[in-house]
Symmetry: C2
Subunit: 451 residues, 2 copies
């Protein structure tokens, strides 16, 4: 059922392109959905992609462009003039998608493209949308919607709806507005089908409609639509006038992007990369965190070098350096992950930072005691040094507790100051905990060995 891009298929497409065999190309592409076309283009050079886009209908070509990654879209659109972008893509798109694409263009090209849009209404709506700040409801909403005035009858509304529906691909909800365009509620398809044809809209519409403001942040929209299982959500301006609508497919993208970003941050990847990206891009996305780790390792080396004499006397102290460092890192990652997810899903509970740290202390104490006892038993059985055994277990306990508290504290503080708490996950927490874990280990070691 779902189109799968195979090597064979891609080869036939490439062969048809090389042969400039438009018929073969049209035949290969005609069954494909825009999302499939974008997968194909993703594997082609810009010139090849242009040829593919010529061989599908304008609607599909335009929509395929919207499915591409931002970077891929940019490089393809560079190959078109402003007039071509307006005629071949923008004019066939819904206003929200059109505005998104124009938003990404270089400033001089933005104005040129807008100037080339023939449909003045569409151009006006796009300009309106471009004014909204990125990351707000206004910036992801579309202008295409179906609305009826509350004072007309069902019979009149059906005529009106027929007229409006002709210009719109998907009708999600029929909105009801007053004569000042203020959103009053919605008319369900069910009501429209079941109410007597002579009823007035104001008698049958549902007023309990959830709406958001144009200035509301996108993340909040996503959480509302997800929580209340909404397919479309109307957006109103400051005085309650219906300004546009947001549909669930845009929000699914927001949800996926958020999850992906958190995952990448936790894994130490600083740009949105895929395994098919170039070696250069992949390296660039990974090097920053590695350099941070390198810096941490050099600090760690300095910490240990302070205790060089101790190591010469008691080389067994070196054995457990990786264990203490790794456990500090692991615990810190766990703690920060739970906080970051809790903040993202709004399941953090009440209680202030102190309450949360107290609870985390309990969890860490339990985990720490179990780990410390296990490693103590191991060391008493297999190691000759009782000093070492006590040092390792005691520092493990302290490091686990410290790392858990630090891993909880940092994302909570970042969040308080409106910084993305996910920045605290992954390499950052690991690195800091590594260094401080080493300090704790050697300090406790000195005390135990009576140095």
């Amino acid at each position: 059922m779902q189109f799968e891009l195979t090597k064979e298929y891609l080869n036939s497409v490439k062969v048809a392109i090389v042969k400039a065999d438009e018929h073969a190309l049209i035949e290969l592409l005609e069954e494909l959905h825009a999302a499939d076309i974008s997968e194909v283009i993703d594997r082609l050079t810009v010139d090849e992609a242009k040829m593919v886009l010529q061989c599908v209908d304008v609607g599909t070509a335009s929509e395929a462009i919207t499915h591409l990654d931002e970077e891929d879209r940019e490089s393809i659109l560079e190959a078109y003039s402003s007039e071509e972008i307006a005629d071949q893509f923008i004019e066939n798109l819904e206003t929200d998608d059109a505005a998104d694409i124009i938003q990404e263009l270089p400033d001089h090209k933005k104005e040129e493209v807008i100037a080339h849009i023939d449909d003045v209404d569409q151009a006006g709506q796009i300009v309106d949308l471009l004014n909204f700040e990125e990351g707000t409801a206004g910036s992801i909403m579309g202008k295409e919607l179906v609305k009826v005035y509350e004072n007309i009858s069902i019979t009149d509304s059906v005529t009106e709806l027929r007229r409006q529906a002709e210009e719109i691909t998907n009708v999600y909800t029929i909105y009801v507005v007053d004569e000042k365009e203020r959103l009053k509620g919605r008319l369900s398809l069910k009501k429209l089908l079941t109410a007597p044809m002579s009823s007035r809209i104001k008698d049958i519409y549902q007023s309990d409609i959830r709406k958001v403001k144009t200035t509301d942040p996108v993340e909040e929209i996503a959480s509302i639509m997800e929580k209340y299982d909404l397919v479309a959500l109307p957006v109103v301006d400051e005085i309650g006038r219906l300004a546009g609508r947001i549909t669930i497919d845009d929000v699914v993208d927001v949800i996926k992007d958020e999850a992906k970003e958190d995952y990448q941050l936790a894994s130490g990847i600083s740009e949105d990369v895929e395994s098919t990206d170039s070696i250069w891009l992949l390296t660039r996305a990974r090097l920053p965190w590695l350099l941070l780790g390198l810096l941490g390792g050099i600090f760690g080396a300095r910490v240990i070098s302070i205790y060089e004499g101790d190591i010469q006397l008691y080389p067994e102290m070196a054995f457990f350096i990786p264990l203490v460092a790794a456990m500090g890192g692991n615990v810190g990652v766990q703690s920060s992950a739970i906080v970051v997810q809790g903040l993202a899903n709004k399941t953090m509970g009440f209680g202030g930072i102190v309450h949360k740290l107290t609870k985390e202390f309990g969890v860490a104490l339990l985990n720490g005691i179990v780990c410390a006892i296990l490693v103590l038993v191991y060391n008493i059985v297999f190691s000759d040094s009782l000093n070492l055994s006590y040092t390792v277990s005691l520092s493990l306990l302290v490091v686990i507790i410290y790392a858990a508290l630090f891993g909880t504290f940092v994302p909570l503080v970042l969040d308080k100051y409106k910084i993305d708490p996910a920045l605290a996950t992954g390499p950052f927490i690991t690195t800091v905990n590594d260094i401080l874990g080493l300090f704790i280990y050697f300090l406790i070691g000195r005390a135990m060995y009576g140095m």
Copy 2:
């Protein structure tokens, strides 16, 4: 706009419960959506929750139950008899939600609840749904849908649709079937509104409808709905008969759960926990990975102990143990994260394992050379030992390359054998790379120091 559960609000609810003041409770709860009610219940004891559920209408109470976590739902439903579960919850739910809840009940209670459903049609549909294997389209689809036969006219279809719509909350799509109930296509609201009333359905329906089979896996459904921006998706049986429909809200949950699971695995958390869960539950979710890390640390200690004599001679070798171990861990996590995300989003490209490892080798070589040179410069400036400087940089280069290849290889192999590749992320990769990194470091050290 969105309900926010505050401490004050929860306190007023609790006070009303203690006073058994139903009027106050009804007033507090009446504006809330089912999803909000479930947030309130989540913070209450089972007895308190029962009282809250009594004070809202049955539809809201039933839906609130579906929004709870599985564990919370189980403990609340234990407080109800089978008859109460059927009457107060199941009968007010759509079939897919009803089947999900019954699925979770203990076996003996399952049958009792089904026996108590008064509406025989609903009971039959639920029994049908319960037969589908978990994780398949059949197991998440609902039976509520609106369909028309292809041979009738628009006028007749409107009458028919009015009848069907009365029993259904949300009409997503109007499906068109033939006389054998086989899915032929869909009738858009737009077409219904704009076509002449005398047309026959077969002349105006759209046949290009995407559908899935009852046996298709849920993850595939999620990826289809996401890719093609679908709000609802029809499900057909082996011979193409319309069996049910899946809506985007169910799929958003699947997408979120998948992302959450991957994130938790990468962070070393083995159960689905939230920061509001009990200390005991949080400890249990975190201990398994910590024990794995502990085991890794003990192995690491054994590796280093082999080289105890070397450390006594050259204690500076100990300085860079954490750096080498940590870098191996970081690189491994990055590499596995990219593979796991690529597999999840189907953006892995073609090329076999060898091709992917070759590319990863290129990325690792670049990253490794940069890191090795930086640390070499540092060591030449700040350290007295040229042997140490060469040892650290060379082993860093080898470890980074090795860790990247291993981090790419393991999830690819797991995926090939149908094991969740996300298992390879986080603590597992970190731990293995820690140990092998140490081996590489000391082996190279021996060679450099000419031991």
